[in-house]
Assembly symmetry: D2
Homo-oligomer: 332 residues x 4
């Protein structure tokens, strides 16, 4: 269950309650938020004088639940706010991997041309084969930082494992936790301690319950800036790379209070249907989209088949605006 203490409670008192109730605890404004295991359904009577409000919860989706906070949280990505009543659908675009300064500069120019403010690029690639390109690492992060300095972008980049989480937190504005890393306690706990926005990708074998529980690791550490990203799950169908789970997105929108971002590029794995899928995502009223676009996909060092050409991306940005308007949203 979730407990809010009364305002002005001392840190020592709050932590005493937390200890007695085996709770996660963090401070918010002038009160504390405690999260007990969900099997606790009533707070101990002895602490009632210190408790302002309480929410018994049916399972371990707690801080992210609409039963606790019946609205979509507002989260900042650079200067843009998404969620809440903003009606904003944020575009995050860029190449799968940062490959060179020349390449990322071309991507940056495209984004600037189209007034897109969030640049993505992978520096630590979670490849399944040790014999594939593994990313530029810190050098890539520095190239992205340079683009931010020059253009004012917010930077979205992925952390692959705990060994370099601090580097990503330092250089990126949005810490992306990859589909293969989203159970990683080392990463989740490091992200819980920062205030930077954290974008958690759903693992391709991950249930919605586990997905949102990963967000609870970050939220319960006191970082409320969390975005959920659906990027396709693994099913028996292999003609497409993964299966984008829009039924799951409907569930996330109904039952959780976190903004939802969609990644059609990784879901389909092929350029041909990205435009149609992106329109579908926009029409669902999601809070943002991750789209891979590369100056020359044919020579891309990773995910070559799914990255759009610049011209395709320009067309797509033009095409989704009326769809967004048709559902009362704005592309930002």
């Amino acid at each position: 269950m979730i407990l809010h203490t009364k305002a002005g409670i001392s840190e020592a008192q709050a932590h005493e309650i937390a200890k007695a109730t085996q709770s996660a605890i963090f401070k918010k404004d002038d009160y504390y938020v405690l999260v007990t295991p969900s099997k606790m359904k009533e707070s101990p009577a002895e602490f009632s004088a210190h408790i302002e409000a309480e929410w018994p919860m049916s399972d371990d989706i707690q801080l992210a639940s609409k039963s606790y906070l019946n609205a979509t949280r507002e989260v900042k990505v650079g200067k843009v706010t998404i969620g809440g009543n903003t009606g904003n659908t944020l575009i995050v675009a860029g190449p799968c991997s940062v490959e060179s300064e020349e390449q990322i500069r071309e991507s940056a120019a495209l984004l600037q041309e189209l007034n897109i403010t969030a640049l993505r690029g992978g520096c630590y690639k979670p490849r399944t084969s040790p014999y594939s390109f593994q990313g530029l690492g810190l050098e890539g992060l520095q190239l992205l930082s340079k683009m931010r300095d020059e253009h004012g972008f917010s930077i979205v980049s992925e952390v692959r494992d705990s060994t370099h989480v601090d580097e990503v937190i330092e250089h990126a504005d949005v810490i992306q936790i990859g589909a293969k890393s989203m159970y990683d306690h080392g990463i989740l706990k490091a992200c819980a301690k920062t205030n930077k926005t954290v974008l958690i990708k759903r693992g391709f074998g991950t249930t919605l319950q586990e997905f949102v529980q990963a967000a609870e690791f970050v939220l319960s550490g006191g970082n409320e800036n969390v975005l959920l990203c659906e990027r396709g799950i693994r099913t028996f169908e292999t003609k497409t790379r993964f299966t984008l789970d829009l039924c799951g997105v409907a569930w996330l929108k109904e039952y959780t209070n976190l903004p939802v971002i969609l990644d059609p590029s990784h879901a389909l794995g092929y350029r041909y249907g990205i435009a149609d899928l992106t329109k579908a995502c926009v029409a669902m009223g999601v809070d943002g989209l991750l789209i891979e676009v590369h100056p020359n996909p044919a020579v891309a060092k990773s995910d070559a088949a799914q990255q759009l050409y610049h011209d395709q991306f320009r067309d797509l940005m033009k095409a989704i605006k009326p769809v967004a308007e048709a559902v009362g949203r704005r592309i930002v």
Copy 2:
């Protein structure tokens, strides 16, 4: 491979080639279409004088392939045509099951109010339990026919197994082959012999390859009026009833020439997200939608949780029009 004979060839000659090449064969205009097993890559030289054109194919998706016919086929549903360059997105609506004359009359009134021309209703329910409502059978079909006579609807109804396929063919305008019946040779072959439109639902455990191959059973018998319907596949995620596979829809649109219909109701299984999912489907540019709506879902004899209330459905029809327009399509 697919062979077109020269025009005016005799039936006997055409069938001789069919026999020699182990082909399915049907007449079209004044020539014959033959479909050999796909492993045949060249037609026998001895018949070359009779062959007008030939398409070697990579696998057993042949007549449905864009490699054979690089466009979406036009198919009629009552007075409405979908596919081709029509830009039409057809709404097929009605209750999960026909339950009584009173109920189906209310559904009919709703459709007429909203200018919807295609009425759906199940009469033979493919239930997984013998202890559940199994449908009204022939009585239900007769009620649907009555609604057609009174309102001019086209009727879409499902065949469950081969024992009653003739009844459904007789009474319905569109023969729906259910997700659990789509491998049924008895049904597929009966549908191949009629000219009525056939809507094949993808089995929830069916690959795209097998799904389209089911259509080949109908097409290769000479019935070219086939619609493919995606209605959700079974995955590890159980918070939603099934997982609507829009990546698969992107593939169908790219590689097959058959119109694609979507059924968001069965995919999600719950009312709450049907509106969002339907907008997503419309934005993808599909050719039609099956939506379940019931005068009083709370007492529905099947699929109570997923059928919309009439007011929800009215709102939805209003909401999807601008989405359709935004992607250059028209709701019919």
Copy 3:
């Protein structure tokens, strides 16, 4: 819930109760068995004088449940009985498809050499492509009957759809309902009316709940001779054809009272691991095995990759005997 009437109740009275409780009903010895929808938890007081015993059930697995009958049912396959306390593990072997008299004669000779009493062979093949071999049909059934007449085998053959279920019931000793046909009400109801043993294969996209509910269609019609056959489910893994679900088999053994047969050939889809998988199945203590073996797999008209050579099969039969003994069972 399941109700047993008192002995000697009149047919009219029994059917009156059945009607009032929306029950399936069949006669057993001198009493009737009624099965109500599972949501009924108490039988109507007005009929209490006629009710001998009742079992409220938690869901629609009723007659097949260990809550009703806490043992494995005995079922006959020809002269052999499996289930109960027999400790028998039955081998059913033969080619995927009956292809010719010569072929099936070779198979018969192999079985006789190895003292195997149950011969399988498909005559109506549920192919996913219309351009593949579809089976010999009635001619194949007649060949199998001939082998029974000559050798005394019991014959196991598959029904594909309702159009030929009567032919299969007439010629086979065990009616096999295929993985793609197990939701087919036409077949299930026809099988409910015969007393022949029915082997139901689990659909590759079918949950255990639905699988056992298919058996309920047959059981509740009064045919208690039902076998459940696990043959692999469809998962994201594609290096093997399907995924044999032995966890599911453990569940079936724990919660249902029906004998369980395993089909490792279809699950793996390749010869190389059939021996190991078969040993695993035997060690689990299942009631029978379906194994495909062909005189010359290289030229088999269906499933060529998974059928064993005769010598491989001989070796396998020798190898599984000590495994069976190690777990207290006997190969029959």
Copy 4:
């Protein structure tokens, strides 16, 4: 492709070839092993004087492939060797989590009684909820080390994320990489640098290809002591916790050269069928088994439903011996 240099080549020369071919490289005896990306099919002619042997490979399963080494590798677990021609099936047993000294002492006593040499216990639990028990961490590792000192066990314990991989490497004899961590480059690379045995669990959403490629990360760093552990994949079936993929095990045995360990406890998730599943695994001829057993499962802090009682475990150990003998193997 895999290259073996000639014996006695200098380190500088070897690394020059590695650099030119973008290879992973490690020294073995007096030569070097290089692994290029699998798309390279011929080694550069300029280095031919230094190459002793080469194996072009079809994909990125290279060092683990039977095409490279056509046998099962021998790997040590404490004093016991598995794989190769040993015919050994190793039992690794113990509680899911180390909870207290008293608990682990009882487990140790059970193992000693049954002559089991490998003790497992989790100290860093990869829980999906932040509100569940997360393990004793270093304190748990120290308790395990104590048991080794007192009883001579080899210790198997899991690493959850890169932050504590060094601690686990220091205290355990076998580093277990969990199903949720097996894509973690930080862990895989740390394990590649040690010579301790590494047991990699297959992720529940992981293909066989990706699973074995995870092993390639360790092997190509020069640590050849790798075990593959199948522990159930996630499918649509939810009556059991996961689906143990024995078809996949058949594939691993056929195509890879690494010993295979099975974990029936996590696959099924319930005590009732562990005995049957374990017998099935033994009969398949696998190299080892991980089985969870707890002095008092009812109060276990994790996975309470699947851990065996001590008496159940004693019975199981007795029951599997004859099964092992029946397939020519020995339980160690």
